[in-house]
Point group: C2
DNA sequence: GGGAGCATGTAAGTAGTTACATGATTGA
DNA sequence: TCAATCATGTAACTACTTACATGCTCCC
């Protein structure tokens, strides 16, 4: 039910095409919700079939046509109904930590390489989030206010990436190293 | 595939019953892998049917019989094969952040209550993890070494809970409050 | 007598992944 | 000409959740 909630919440801020939503789910919103284009388009079709969002086909030059979806009044009510329920805690399933849990079975060099890969990825993601923070900080007051809550989720993204980065660095530093 | 990996990795440390594994997935290992008893028992049946783990029925007095599973040699090879693949990054789907993203549609009092509930939960979880850290720190050297990698995952659990706690406190402090 | 913890399971339904599929434009 | 970006979709499969199910012991 939460993909539905995430999509409705995004469309509540501004109308968007499936592709535009997808980019957000893979970038800024990627911190709190992940999805694939297959799932997203299916959900958009379902929401449209249920009359919760409106669809307008827009022609573009040099680019394929796109379908722009807008939250309508019924969709707003559905969104409010979903929001009324308590948020269940995130259920974590982290492949890297599972791998590290069994780390004693792996050659240290491979573990090190894996940790460095993740560390670099977290550095990049943190940099992206910090750019977004700066972008919002420089935005006009109206926009800053409209995006007050999204900015709070972004703040968690920053804290999350910082925690991972610190952890990767700590573990790399403390790893028993193979004799060279 | 990662539930399989998580189960094999746990049984690599020591034999256990489904119920014992379940408690770990809900407590100490709950940080990096979440599962239900339905999924877990199904996976144990599958692993046993494939000859990757051995099963011994153990009678207990005052308690129901239990099935104790042990990783065998083939299971060890399967574990190593799964570990050889790169760990894909965790895919986050966090209902609380989705709810907060749409926070402007909610009454501030309800948001506050939700955040306080999560803050309290994170405090409790952090306390649990810190107890486990202390427990490991006091363990004999042999055990400390055997559990070196599990302890690293626990460290991430602590950093993660601290980040969430900080975030909950920040957001609560910055929330526009309703007139009393 | 009731609830919590121990210990296991099946079945039905929903959500998510992987694979397959198309076709235009822009830049290296 | 090759890869990337834009933009959308279907189908098959796997993983996960929710609901249903049993039964014993210990403690209040």
């Amino acid at each position: 039910m939460s993909l539905r909630l995430a999509v409705l919440a995004m469309l509540d801020l501004e109308p968007a095409s499936g592709y535009a939503l997808l980019r957000r789910f893979q970038n800024s919103a990627g911190f709190f919700w992940h999805t694939s284009h297959q799932q997203l388009y299916k959900e958009l079709h379902a929401l449209h079939a249920e009359g919760l969002i409106d669809c307008a086909e827009v022609e573009q030059d040099g680019k394929p046509d796109m379908k722009v979806y807008t939250l309508n009044e019924r969709g707003g009510r559905e969104l409010d109904a979903l929001l009324a329920a308590a948020a269940t805690p995130l259920k974590i399933r982290d492949p890297l930590l599972v791998k590290l849990f069994a780390g004693r079975r792996l050659p240290p060099s491979e573990l090190l390489a894996e940790l460095e890969r993740h560390r670099d990825q977290h550095r990049r993601t943190l940099a992206t989030y910090e750019e977004l923070v700066a972008y919002f900080a420089a935005a006009p007051a109206e926009r800053r206010q409209r995006y007050f809550f999204p900015q709070q989720t972004l703040r968690m993204g920053v804290l999350y990436e910082q925690a991972w980065l610190q952890w990767c660095e700590e573990v790399i530093a403390g790893l028993p190293r193979a004799a060279g």
